[in-house]
């Protein structure tokens, strides 16, 4: 069977859920091979094996994570030379950069923000903020496909992959942008915004940084990630990396709760493919209500704490 390379997305020893989604998808397309780049494979090995790759390539030289993107590209390029039928990467900001550079290296077409792939390697995209579904395929070279987190339903298939150590001799060009420090500003127990199955977001109606505690309180009872509209991040109430919308993150959780968000197109473009949408807003005319499965016209400062309390009670 044709080999499908899957780039493992991991940080601080934790494998991101999108990796398992990619492995699930890869198994439906051919024989999945996971590609681990960087230190720490041993601790993650069991978890990766649960999702059934036939092989795992381990390139664990610390040098590979000391520079921006290019070392990962050279590793994938080297492995693709064995004749892979496709290469799957997560459609994160960095994943798409890897896909882009690799496309130049392999002189191959690249498809980004893909939400599904058929056996004939036709990819489905959700574009214009979810308003249009397009199908596309790669016409030249080895298809490089960046798949959006939360788009593929997980299916485990425990196995015992063959592990192959890989060494990569980096070019000088790959070492041109050196990472000298990693600064962690926001690290909490909450799930990643793009990977979370539940997201609770606050907008202009939240009224201030301090009040985001109400949003966080609801999120924590649901095990959810916290998001914010552009109005809230522009006002400095919540950090920019949590912005959901056209110029921020695109999310597609099982459940999205929007509190105090009017639903401008800017915001809708980042969340309207969520499976179930709930909104709380004072304004009955707010466009967010056009999208909802359930909406409450009311004051979020009354409704959200009551909801948090009610969920806690029912647990």
């Amino acid at each position: 069977m044709a080999e499908i390379l899957v780039l493992v997305d991991h940080a601080d020893g934790e494998v991101k859920k999108v990796t398992f989604e990619l492995l699930t998808l890869a198994r439906s397309l051919g024989e999945a091979s996971a590609v681990w780049i960087g230190p720490g494979y041993e601790a993650a090995a069991d978890k990766i094996a649960e999702y059934g790759p036939a092989k795992v390539y381990v390139a664990d030289d610390a040098e590979l994570t000391g520079y921006v993107v290019a070392p990962k590209v050279e590793t994938l390029q080297q492995l693709a030379a064995n004749g892979a039928a496709a290469i799957l990467v997560p459609a994160t900001a960095e994943g798409k950069e890897i896909a882009g550079r690799l496309a130049v290296r392999l002189d191959s077409g690249v498809l980004t923000d893909v939400v599904g792939v058929t056996g004939e390697l036709v990819a489905e995209h959700s574009i214009f903020g979810g308003a249009v579904i397009a199908h596309a395929k790669v016409a030249k070279g080895t298809p490089i496909i960046a798949v959006r987190p939360n788009a593929i339903a997980l299916a485990a298939a425990p196995g015992s992959p063959a592990v192959e150590q890989v060494s990569v001799a980096l070019s000088d060009a790959a070492k041109a942008a050196k990472i000298t420090d990693r600064v962690v500003q926001e690290k909490g127990e909450r799930p990643d915004l793009t990977e979370a199955s539940v997201v609770v977001s606050g907008g202009r109606g939240v009224g201030g940084a301090e009040n985001f505690k109400i949003i966080e309180g609801l999120a924590d009872t649901l095990g959810a990630a916290v998001g914010a509209s552009r109005a809230a991040t522009d006002a400095g109430w919540y950090p920019h990396q949590f912005q959901v919308g056209q110029t921020g993150k695109t999310v597609s959780p099982q459940l999205y709760i929007a509190a105090g968000i009017s639903g401008a197109i800017q915001h809708r473009a980042g969340m309207q493919t969520s499976k179930t949408i709930i909104a709380i807003n004072k304004d009955p005319e707010a466009p967010i209500f056009e999208l909802v499965d359930y909406g409450v016209v009311g004051d979020l400062f009354q409704v959200v704490p009551q909801l948090t309390e009610e969920i806690t009670k029912r647990k």
Binding site: A11, V68, V69, A70, A93, E94, K96, E97, G100, R101, A103, V104, S108, G109, V110, L111, T112, D113, S126, V132, I133, A134, H135, A136, A139, A173, A176, A177, K178, V183, V184, Q185, K187, D192, V198, H240, Q241, Q243, T247, A269, T273, T276, I277, I278, I280, P284, E290, V292, D293, Y294, G295, V297, G298, Q302, Q306, T308, E309, E310, I311, K315
Partner: protein
């Protein structure tokens, strides 16, 4: 310092965006064109670097005649000149082909640094800055929320999900910027008047020395097979809070097995 900023005209998000039914390409006539919002941060960063280090800012645009509006706006903000690749034969080119054209144009412009927005609000592929860096063989300083240049040394803060990475490189380099890196200036009257006299070099594929076999929809690396409007969401239930709004949502969540 010669600074090149890549600027894309995109359909205004507020107007209806659609693909054409015949060739699945973006219907650029159907929507008002505006500068890609994230490119405005790139223009501002270029102008700030010029003010700090001297030099010249050149705007690079690929697009139809209409894209001239976006070029004039960039010039009105303070850029010095522009290069506009305008050629019907370029229509349908994908990101990989576009990165080839930009590489050639950057080389023609003679840049020390290229600055781009991190992605466009229409295609949103987010691949171009990385592709351009690969093609030029220049360091990739992308997703920057802070840029500092001293001599030929460049340092950026690369935004990550949990904070940022500090990244160092030497010029020439490719930089992409994220929203919030700066506050883009508005063109003032003087800037708008001056922009009318600034040079805009309009080039065809042949003028730019591009290989025609490498650009255009027929030579694209990816093909859109079909497209359709996503199914409309079913209209949901909307209630007014009568003191029990939170309880009602909890009931709804329970009915959907979320709690």
């Amino acid at each position: 310092m010669n600074i090149v900023v890549c600027v894309k005209q995109v359909p205004d998000t507020e107007s209806p965006r659609k693909l054409k039914s015949d060739d699945n390409t973006l219907d650029r006539a159907a929507a008002d064109g505006v500068i890609n919002e994230l490119d405005e941060y790139a223009i501002e960063e270029a102008l700030a670097l010029k003010e700090a280090h001297g030099g010249e800012v050149t705007v690079l645009t690929i697009g139809p005649d209409k894209a001239t509006e976006s070029i004039r706006k960039a010039l009105a903000m303070g850029a010095d000149k522009a290069i506009h690749l305008v050629d019907d034969a370029f229509v349908g080119s994908d990101a990989l082909q576009t990165s080839y054209a930009l590489q050639q144009l950057v080389t023609r412009a003679g840049a020390d640094v290229v600055i781009l927005g991190s992605e466009s609000t229409d295609a949103r592929t987010g691949v171009l800055p990385a592709m351009l860096s690969e093609r030029l063989g220049w360091p990739q300083l992308t997703l920057a929320n802070k840029v500092e240049i001293a001599g030929t040394a460049v340092t950026i803060q690369r935004q990550t999900d949990t904070g940022f990475d500090k990244v160092e490189a030497s010029l020439p380099a490719v930089i992409s910027v994220v929203e919030k890196i700066n506050e883009p200036r508005y063109p003032n009257f003087k800037g708008i008047m001056a922009a009318k006299k600034k040079p805009v070099e309009s080039l065809s594929i042949a003028d730019a020395g591009l290989d025609a076999a490498l650009v255009g929809g027929a030579n694209a690396y990816t093909t859109v097979v079909d497209h359709a409007d996503a199914p409309a969401r079913a209209k949901g239930e909307i209630v007014s809070d009568e003191g029990d709004g939170g309880v009602k949502i909890a009931d709804f969540l329970a009915s959907k097995k979320f709690v």
